[in-house]
Every structure is written in structure tokens, then in C-alpha cells.
């Protein structure tokens, strides 16, 4: 059951996406990365039928998702918006979710509630911002949908709760493998649990694939200025810095060639890669 996005166009006053194409494969944990205002939430809202695209379509197993209740029952979006009745107790919220989806992983939910020290007899309104996020996030982890979209699931969580969330997510995934798509800015922490990543910038996908592939596509080249300049002269430079006679350059898709011994080539993590790719694109465009 794969989810495909075909030729998606969306504009408010300015275009958000132009001819966006994407495929989300089953049972995979994705990271949806992008800078502020790039359209991550808009994309997730379109997929889950909360807002509509100007053109293009979202298909689940070949079926159009838009206004298709059967397909939509396989999609769940946890967003920053408080769409649940705020006077509902957490346990009643879970009961409601169970009735909406026919199933709910109660054992897992109780287990997670204990781990997060969440009082399920409290009303959503009376919970702190962090605990409200936890309540919504645990709901998302325990519904039986095939595609779970988490929009900023760790917003307002402290470091300890964020770590618990990563463990909970992996446990929920192991318990019932499904596709999770996590839109977040805290890339450094989330990298360890992601299998694949999608990087959005200026209304299009600038990079997608296995996290290892994406990080391997950006290399840090360090060494004497003259040697580095000669090496990267025909390469796609994302960013360069000079320190006296030394030079540091981030290169995208460094093509294999003989590397002089005085030059050091380093791998980068996903966050560094994301920053250089999104910033580098702006540099190249300007």
C-alpha cells in the first residue's frame, strides 16, 4: 500500500508547491525536512484531506485520497492544531479514536502513558502544552492507520521526553510496522531513527532517499586553499569558508577523482547536510 503524490500544485498568494511528485513506501520511517514556511504542514494537510491542492492528486494504493473516506481511514495526521474537543479527557480521547478507527492499541497506550507519566484522567484543556502534545502524539502512535504523519511531534517537549518519544516511536513501529512521516526541525536528534528523508525547499523536493545516501551526497573538503580550489573547481559547491591559507568547502555529489594527500574529505551528518543543501541552493540561485 504505497502513497503517491503526483503533480501537486498548491498556491496561496504565492505558489507553495509546483509539480511536486513523491512516493512514500510502506513500513518506513521518513523525516520530512524543510526550513520554516517551506510547506511541510501544507503538504501533510493536503495528504490528509484537511486542505485541497489547486491541482494534482494524492493516491493511496492507486485510489484517489481526496474525499475518499475509505482511503482516508488509513491516514492519520497529528498536527500542532488543537482539533480535539478540549474538554475531553485523555482516556476518552483514546476511546473516541478507537471508535473512529475500529481499533486502538490500548496496551501500548497505557504503557506509553506510564513512561511519559501522563495522567489519562485529565482533560486536554488542563494539560500543559508539552503534555497536550504527548497526549496527541500517543494517540497517533496507537491508531491502526497505515500512514501516520507527525507534524512537529516534539514541539514543547523537554529533552527527556523527546528521548522517550524516540523510543516510543520505535516501539510502536516494531509492534506494528507502518509508515511514519515526521516533520521536524530537530534533525540532529531524529536522524538516528529515520530510514529515509525528504528535503523540501522552495516548493520542490531537493533531495530524498535513504538517510545514508543523502548524507553521503554532501562531503566536507578541507585543506590548503590552492589544492581545494583546484579539486572543487568543477564541482557543485554548497558553501565555502577560508581560514588564512586553509579552505573548507561543502560539495554536493563530489565526483570521484584522485584526492591529493593534503586534502581531507569528511562525511557530514543529516543536519549539516540539510543546512548546506537548503542554504547552498539559495547561494546557487542568487
Amino acid at each position: 500500500m504505497s502513497l503517491q503524490i503526483k503533480h501537486l500544485n498548491k498556491k496561496y498568494k504565492k505558489p507553495v508547491f509546483t509539480d511536486l511528485n513523491l512516493e512514500l513506501v510502506p513500513q518506513t520511517i521518513y523525516g520530512l525536512l524543510g526550513r520554516n514556511g517551506v510547506g511541510k504542514s501544507t503538504l501533510l494537510n493536503i495528504i490528509s484531506n484537511r486542505i485541497f491542492a489547486n491541482s494534482g492528486e494524492v493516491l493511496l494504493d492507486g485510489q484517489i485520497v481526496k474525499n475518499n473516506d475509505l482511503a482516508l481511514s488509513q491516514i492519520f495526521l497529528m498536527s500542532e492544531d488543537n482539533l480535539y474537543p478540549q474538554s475531553t479527557k485523555v482516556k476518552d480521547l483514546w476511546k473516541m479514536s478507537a471508535s473512529f478507527y475500529g481499533q486502538f492499541d490500548w496496551d501500548l497506550a497505557q504503557d506509553f502513558a506510564q513512561q511519559f507519566d501522563l495522567d489519562t484522567s485529565k482533560k486536554l484543556r488542563s494539560l500543559s502544552t508539552g503534555y497536550r502534545t504527548i497526549a496527541k502524539m500517543l494517540t497517533a502512535l496507537c491508531v491502526p492507520c497505515e500512514y501516520i504523519f507527525l507534524d512537529e511531534p516534539i514541539l514543547g517537549l523537554d529533552a527527556a521526553n523527546r528521548e522517550t518519544f524516540y523510543q516510543a516511536l520505535l516501539k510502536a513501529y516494531a509492534h506494528q510496522p507502518r509508515t511514519f512521516v515526521i516533520a521536524t526541525h530537530i534533525i540532529e536528534e531524529i536522524e538516528q531513527i529515520l530510514e529515509k528523508a525528504i528535503i523540501l525547499n522552495h516548493g520542490r523536493i531537493i533531495s530524498q532517499g535513504d538517510v545514508e545516501e543523502i548524507t553521503a551526497s554532501v562531503k566536507l573538503v578541507q585543506g590548503p586553499k590552492a589544492a581545494v580550489t583546484a579539486l572543487v573547481s568543477d564541482q557543485q559547491i554548497l558553501e565555502s569558508k577560508e581560514f588564512g591559507n586553509m579552505m573548507t568547502v561543502y560539495v554536493h555529489n563530489l565526483t570521484a577523482k584522485k584526492i591529493p594527500s593534503e586534502i581531507e574529505i569528511k562525511n557530514v551528518d543529516l543536519q549539516t547536510c540539510f543546512i548546506r543543501l537548503t542554504k547552498g541552493e539559495e547561494v546557487n540561485e542568487s
Binding site: 496561496y12 484531506n49 484537511r50 485541497f52 473516506d69 475509505l70 482539533l83 474537543p85 473512529f100 478507527y101
Partner: protein
């Protein structure tokens, strides 16, 4: 029918039942207060109630149910169908219950016969009453979905209330037609605009 659709219907009916219970209780309150006055007083109060109660209920209920339909990714078609259906159900059920209770009371002992009589008399305007509940429900829904700012809601609420209060004094077929026409036109606009950016703006606001 999917589980989400079934659960949404259950949710909507649960709150509609609560609303109907509320409106019938309010009706009795009005009836007891105005029962000692004239039939004109009673009818006027009854007409106001028929507008206020469904308007407020639907305004509130549809905010909650619309947000819920978004959270559980229900199709907009299904949501609109449910709103129309629940407005019709509530109009018919509320009016039907009041009428049945009126008939029962009329045949009981003398103390409640007048009250029963008044209730049955309203049946002479059954179409108008049902339409009024329906219109008020849809108007409540309209203000619920299309308010982007609370002050706009309050403004719409005040305009609609003033409209009804003024017209209720001499509500006739002509004004009913105007009310019916304007509300249905508004609702049609809702449906037409529904697929466009109005919903986007709404979601952004909510």
C-alpha cells in the same frame, strides 16, 4: 460505511440528542412562563426559541464536529451531508416531540390542558416552525464554519438575532421565504466555496 463515518454519526447524534433535550426543556420553561399570558406572547416566545436554540447549538456543535472531521480525516462531502441531515433530523424531531407532548397534555387533567393546547396550536404553523429550526441550524453552521475571527461571528450573530427578533413579531410567509432564500443561498455559497481556498483559510485559522 467506514468506522470513521459511523463514529462521526454517533458523535453528532449524541450532541443532537443533548440539544434536543435542552430545547424541549427550554420550551417548557417558556411555556410555563408565558402560559399565563396570551397565545400571542406564547407564540412569539416559541418562535424566538425555535431560532435561538438551534442557532447557538449548531454554531457550537459544528465548530467541534468540523474540527473533529478534520482530525479524523473525514471527507468534506460526508461532513456536509451529515450537517444537513442533522439539521433536518433536529428540526423534525424537536417539533414532533413538542407536538406529541402537546397532544398528550391536552388529554390529561385540567392543570396542563392549556399548556397542551398551546403546544398543539403551534402545529398550525408546523411547516414554518420546522423551516425556522432548519434555517437557524444552517445559519448556526454557516457562522460556525465561516467565521475567521470571533468578532465576525459576534457580528453575524447579532445581525441574525436582530433580523429574527424584528421579523418574528409579524412573521408571515413572505418573510419566511426571504429567510429561507437567504440562508439557503448562504449555505449554497458555503458548498460552492468549500472546495476552494476558503477552507484553507479556515484551517489555517483554526
Amino acid at each position: 460505511m467506514t468506522n470513521s463515518q459511523k463514529a462521526f454519526i454517533k458523535y453528532q447524534l449524541k450532541y443532537l440528542a443533548a440539544y434536543e433535550f435542552g430545547i424541549i426543556c427550554l420550551f417548557f420553561l417558556f411555556a410555563f412562563i408565558f402560559g399565563n399570558y396570551s397565545l400571542a406572547d406564547f407564540n412569539s416566545s416559541f418562535n424566538n426559541l425555535l431560532f435561538f436554540a438551534p442557532f447557538v447549538t449548531f454554531h457550537w456543535l459544528d465548530q467541534e464536529s468540523f474540527k473533529l472531521s478534520l482530525q479524523y480525516s473525514l471527507s468534506r462531502k460526508f461532513y456536509i451531508m451529515m450537517i444537513l441531515l442533522s439539521a433536518i433530523i433536529s428540526a423534525v424531531v424537536v417539533y414532533g416531540i413538542i407536538l406529541i407532548i402537546g397532544i398528550i397534555l391536552q388529554n390529561l387533567h385540567a392543570g396542563v390542558q392549556t399548556l397542551g393546547h398551546f403546544m398543539v396550536l403551534t402545529s398550525h404553523h408546523w411547516l414554518r416552525n420546522i423551516l425556522e429550526i432548519l434555517l437557524a441550524s444552517l445559519a448556526g453552521n454557516f457562522t460556525s464554519i465561516y467565521h475567521r475571527r470571533h468578532y465576525l461571528t459576534v457580528l453575524l450573530f447579532v445581525i441574525l438575532i436582530s433580523f429574527f427578533v424584528v421579523l418574528n413579531e409579524n412573521l408571515n410567509n413572505f418573510t419566511t421565504i426571504i429567510l429561507l432564500g437567504s440562508t439557503l443561498l448562504a449555505f449554497l455559497l458555503v458548498i460552492i466555496c468549500n472546495r476552494k481556498r476558503v477552507i484553507d483559510q479556515l484551517v489555517k485559522y483554526k
